[in-house]
């Protein structure tokens, strides 16, 4: 605080409150809608107070689905969870290894390998969607977790963060380790890995959210209903206009879809913010 300016402080709080309302309002309305009956939701404008059908609506979507989408949302949540876990753990493991190789070794074609990995940063899966589909279909991986996750793991965001982090680790640590007779694997296991715990936590949050929120790739990829992640499934619940759509169930699903990544982000906020800001520097 540089000087006391009570009016300016008041203005700051006012603007932040408006910001909070903008952010929270859609979420609040979703919650309100998810506690009402379908008829109450469609009789616009809906009441701004929660209704009495909270348990009923959530139980219905979780275990039986809606009338247009008969796959239970509980099943979709599981698919989303598996995808997000495979993507985050897979990405973190392979990127940590490759960043270790690029930073701590000198070998022929090092720069070529480096650029081959880093060029993937430029082209999101959305751009190469139809040829990626053909490749995955050619390998017979459609409708499997491998097909759903592997193309999304092929990206260098995590490798980039690990590389940046490894470069800040003092050289003295490697020297000391080598004098003590530790080989590269020992160094990785006993020094590098423990030091990287914060980066790993940050990356986990970023990659879990990324994996959970994937839409286009699973949409193109999945052929059977029991492989539908929740983010794709929610779209299929909106069908045929406002009269048929059970908006109360859709909103319950929307809340269920945002709670797991939301909790991961909020609970791991400290690491996440650090990791996010560092990774893009």
């Amino acid at each position: 605080m540089i000087e006391r300016r009570p009016w300016l402080d008041l203005l700051a709080h006012l603007i932040l409150l408006i910001g909070l309302i903008i952010v929270a309002f859609p979420l609040y309305i979703a919650f309100v809608a998810s506690t009402q009956t379908a008829r109450e939701v469609t009789s616009a404008p809906i009441s701004l107070l929660p209704g009495t059908h909270f348990l009923e609506n959530y139980a219905q979507v979780l275990f039986t689905g809606s009338s247009v989408q008969t796959t239970p949302v509980g099943n979709m949540l599981w698919v989303s969870f598996v995808i997000a876990m495979i993507i985050s753990i897979g990405k973190i493991s392979i990127s940590m290894l490759s960043a270790f190789a690029v930073v701590y070794f000198r070998f022929p074609f090092r720069m070529l390998c480096f650029w081959m990995i880093f060029i993937t940063l430029m082209l999101p899966v959305e751009v190469r969607i139809s040829p990626t589909f053909e490749v995955v279909a050619g390998l017979g991986l459609t409708n499997s977790y491998a097909g759903l996750t592997l193309p999304l793991i092929a990206s260098a965001t995590a490798t980039f963060l690990f590389r940046q982090f490894f470069l800040t680790i003092p050289d003295e640590l490697v020297e000391a380790a080598r004098i003590d007779g530790a080989g590269p694997i020992r160094f990785f296991k006993d020094i590098l890995f423990p030091l990287s715990k914060t980066s790993i936590a940050a990356l986990f949050v970023i990659q879990f959210t990324y994996g959970w929120n994937q839409y286009l790739w699973p949409l193109v990829m999945k052929t059977s209903e029991d492989m539908t992640p929740i983010v794709v499934g929610i779209k299929t619940m909106i069908g045929g206009g406002d009269s048929v759509t059970e908006w109360n169930l859709v909103m319950a699903t929307a809340l269920l879809a945002m709670i797991p990544p939301g909790l991961v982000v909020v609970l791991m906020q400290k690491w996440f913010v650090k990791g996010l800001v560092d990774s893009e520097k």
Binding site: I2, L8, D9, A12, H13, L16, G19, L20, I22, V23, P26, I29, A44, I94, S98, V103, Y104, F105, F107, R110, C113, M116, T120, L121, M122, L123, P124, E126, R128, S130, P131, E134, V135, V136, P151, I153, A154, T159, L167, D171, V174, E175, R178, F187, T209, N213, Y215, V220, I234, K235, I238, D242, V250, A254, A257, M258, P261, V266, V277, E280
Partner: protein
């Protein structure tokens, strides 16, 4: 930056790199190469024989007014998303940097949209502004506005822009806040002692020092609007009404999976690749030079 001290090992580095290189080659280079390859062929609608047509797919695109419309829509959309999103987030970050009481609460609430999937964001906003049942749409109608994103092109564009901006506020906010906190307090204090008002200090010290962050976010937001908003478009307007929200990446998807024209879709992918590479080069050039006065 390079390490001075390294390990000597002939085989190990390749083994460490193998998993990532393998996945990158199979799921990145192969498809990217195939997109380029495909873009020189036309395929008959029932599969089977391919016919080499050279650059015909590209010339067809550039003679297609439909594709030009999609370009125009993408640029209007991405600039609107970037400018509106950055302005709101910068204002919030400056205010959050100032307050002491409740700073943590504001931050925790404001990062929530980061976790919400674009598809879910689309569903939320489609519901809020649905002309017949939407809570906010009802108020708009009561105020005498003729709101209908399903029929009116401008309304549809406003809807997808609002949803896309809402989703991105958290990300921009976090970067601006980190940028603001890295500005040395002494500079601002010195200006305050010289009698510069808060507004003057912001425009002459804070804003210029923040320019690398702003520029970085500008590029990131453009890329976001170009690609990651696919789900928002698909859950709200599906590119309509007409072509009014049919952004380039949505058109790639429609061409491949609705019209099954893989040649044209490949050519569009290649054009998009060039746009992203261009944006990335611009970003590296300027961010490295540290945009500052």
């Amino acid at each position: 930056m390079e390490k001075r001290v390294v390990f000597n090992h002939k085989l190990l580095p390749y083994l460490l790199l193998a998993p990532q290189l393998l996945i990158t080659v199979i799921f990145f280079f192969l498809p990217a190469g195939q997109a380029i390859w495909q873009s020189f062929f036309i395929e008959s609608a029932f599969g089977g024989d391919q016919q080499f047509v050279g650059l015909d797919n590209y010339t067809a695109l550039f003679n297609d007014s439909y594709y030009y419309d999609s370009f125009k829509v993408t640029f209007v959309f991405s600039i609107a998303v970037a400018v509106i999103g950055l302005s709101i987030s910068l204002m919030l970050a400056v205010m959050a940097d100032r307050v002491i009481k409740g700073a943590m609460l504001y931050k925790t609430m404001l990062i929530w949209p980061y976790a919400v999937a674009p598809a879910v964001v689309g569903v939320l906003w489609a519901f809020l502004f649905s002309p017949s049942v939407g809570t906010l749409a009802v108020y708009l109608t009561e105020m005498g506005l003729d709101w209908n994103p399903r029929l009116d092109a401008t309304d549809a564009m406003i809807l997808v822009t609002m949803a896309a901006v809402w989703k991105q506020i958290s990300y921009n906010f976090l970067f601006f806040l980190a940028g603001l906190q890295s500005i040395p307090r002494s500079l601002i204090e010195a200006a305050a002692i010289d009698g510069a008002s808060p507004a003057r200090r912001f425009w002459t010290i804070v804003f210029p020092l923040l320019s690398p962050t702003t520029f970085f976010l500008l590029v990131i937001n453009m890329v976001y609007a170009f690609f990651e908003t696919f789900a928002i478009i698909d859950t709200t307007t599906q590119g309509g009404p007409g072509n009014s929200t049919n952004i380039l990446v949505y058109n790639v998807y429609k061409t491949a999976f609705k019209s099954f024209d893989y040649g044209s879709s490949g050519a569009q992918s290649v054009i998009l690749m060039f746009i992203v590479i261009l944006l990335t080069i611009v970003q590296f050039r300027y961010v490295d030079r540290k945009v500052q006065y």
